[in-house]
Amino acid sequence: MSVLKVRGLNKNFGGLKAVSDVNITVNQGELLGLIGPNGAGKTTIFNLLTGVYVPTTGTVRLKDVDGNKININGMKPHITARHGISRTFQNIRLFKNLSVVDNLKIGMHKNIRHSIFEAILRLPRFIRDEKMFEQQAMYILSLVGLQDKHAEFAMNLPYGEQRKLEIARAIATGASVIFLDEPAAGMNPSETEDLSKLIVKLKDEFHLTVILIEHDMKFVMNLCERIYVLDFGSIIAEGLPAEIQSNKRVIEAYLGEQVE
């Protein structure tokens, strides 16, 4: 059962074809990897699927949180977020001057059921929403192991915890499909190990579909169930980790052609 279906996706920046004719199918509950050399267009695909960029051509069909199938190509990021897509960023983009728990609550803002007047007058519906946000946020923080630092400013967290907080914030939106852009970048082997356990745990807990970009091959091969390989904007291979490892085109893309 596919949750996300990308067909004929193209993106041109002027004369540059950043993404050309990409087809991706993501199954429900899958942990999918997207790899490729630098500049292959991985982050561009993430930006296209989350609405930061508008595709030149192509369709993106999403099965949203309620099970309805909708076209999300060309929608703005805040709309795709409402349909259950969330993401992290390659260069961490936390709200640095907000506390850890407030970072999560911002992800929940789209779920508020009170109006601004109720917020100003502190009416019951506002208090109920705030209480619910607090509980949910603390629960998610306890899963990623940041509950003790909930009052800390996000900018004061060490690097690895900032990465975790970004994942927690993406989950706090209540999304069903999560895009992780290089979650393990800059982490040492033991931190990477912890991170892959955490991703599996969160995926099972919240019934997520996870799509991740990563350069750490050991991490990708151990964690991902299926992998797409991207080079110069097109998909050059797709398959199980073992298949990808022995794929000739993939090796060529990373290491260059063999000299006869």
């Binding site: 960023f89 983009r93 911002i106 803002h109 917020a119």
Partner: protein, 325 residues
């Protein structure tokens, strides 16, 4: 948790009451600490607080630079003054006038906000600067009989007394504070911190920016309404670019996004300008020099005293001279 918030609001209520009684006692003719001359300064101070809190929501909390705040103040001032002049200055009419002034400013703020808030940073600053001037020039030139042209409106009943400005400022403070500590306030801060991340988290940037702008201009209009009943004569030139800069100065001095800082800065700047009035010729020079100094110390992230210590500690001075960093 609920008990805690109730205790907190009780403490707030009590401190407002204490502040009110205290200022009232100081104003009594028998005590005469705040004599009638100082009383006018106190009124101006509270109007400044109202103005600056509104701008702080737009510029400090939501991060949208606006240089047209005085324009919105003038809309509130003119509409409230006209309403009171056409009716009467009974308490009900004064309250209505304040509401009308605030709503008129908020409405214009809404209309202006939709196109201009697409701009960012410097571009938004220039656009709001221009719009502030447009408002002023329109007020000056449209319907001379009604708005009085460049001579402005005179003979406005002096309906603004201490109670009006005090409770005006307190209500503004409570609204901005409650807004800041709600989901909407967090969304505003998120927009300031990182627009791309905020949008990816499902926050509608346009809505939040317009919300902040409308609430901010609402209180500019309220302050304008209080202002026209305080001076009795309003002219378009009172609401020029320099007035916007004055308000912005309070916000920046108090710290962008810091609402208590805004209150303290509004008080401090008014006290400063009164303290300097004996030095007639050099007054503006001293005032400006003090501002430069305060900004020098205040800029950056470390608190004032840390900075002072750093600047005046010799070993560190020497170290910083020799180290390459």
């Amino acid at each position: 948790m609920k008990n805690k918030s109730i205790t907190k609001s009780l403490i707030g209520l009590v401190s407002v009451a204490v502040a009110y009684v205290l200022i009232k006692i100081l104003m009594l003719p028998q005590v005469n600490v705040i004599n009638p001359f100082y009383q006018t300064i106190v009124l101006k101070m509270f109007i400044d607080i109202t103005l600056a809190l509104g701008l702080n929501l737009i510029t400090g909390i939501t991060g949208q630079f606006s240089l047209g705040h005085a324009g919105f103040m003038s809309i509130g001032a003119y509409s409230a003054a006209l309403f009171v002049m056409k009716t009467s200055d009974s308490l009900l009419n004064v309250l209505l006038a304040a509401l009308i002034g605030a709503c008129a400013a908020a409405f214009i703020g809404f209309l202006i906000g939709i196109p201009t808030l697409r701009l960012k940073g410097d571009y938004l600053a220039i656009a709001t600067l221009g719009l502030g001037e447009i408002i002023r020039i329109v007020v000056q030139n449209v319907d001379q009989n009604l708005l009085g042209g460049a001579a402005g409106l005179s003979g406005i009943p002096l309906y603004t007394n201490f109670e009006v400005v005090f409770f005006g400022a307190v209500i503004t403070f409570i609204v901005i504070r409650n807004l800041l500590k709600s989901s909407f306030g967090r969304a505003c801060i998120a927009v300031r911190e990182d627009e791309i991340a905020a949008e990816s988290m499902g926050i509608n940037l346009t809505n939040i920016k317009i919300l902040a702008f409308v609430v901010g201009t609402f209180f500019a209009g309220l302050a304008g309404a209080m202002y026209s009943g305080y001076v009795g004569v309003i002219q378009p030139k009172d609401f020029g670019f320099m007035k916007s800069i004055d308000i912005l100065m309070i916000v920046v001095l108090g710290g962008l996004g810091n609402i208590w800082g805004t209150v303290i800065a509004a008080i401090a700047l008014n006290v400063l300008s009164v303290a300097l009035q004996d030095f007639a010729e050099v007054r503006m020079i001293i005032y400006a020099a003090l501002l430069v100094l305060i900004m020098l110390f205040k800029s950056g992230e470390s608190p004032l005293f840390v900075k002072l210590r750093r600047i005046f500690s010799l070993p560190k001075l020497k170290l910083s001279m020799f180290s390459k960093k």
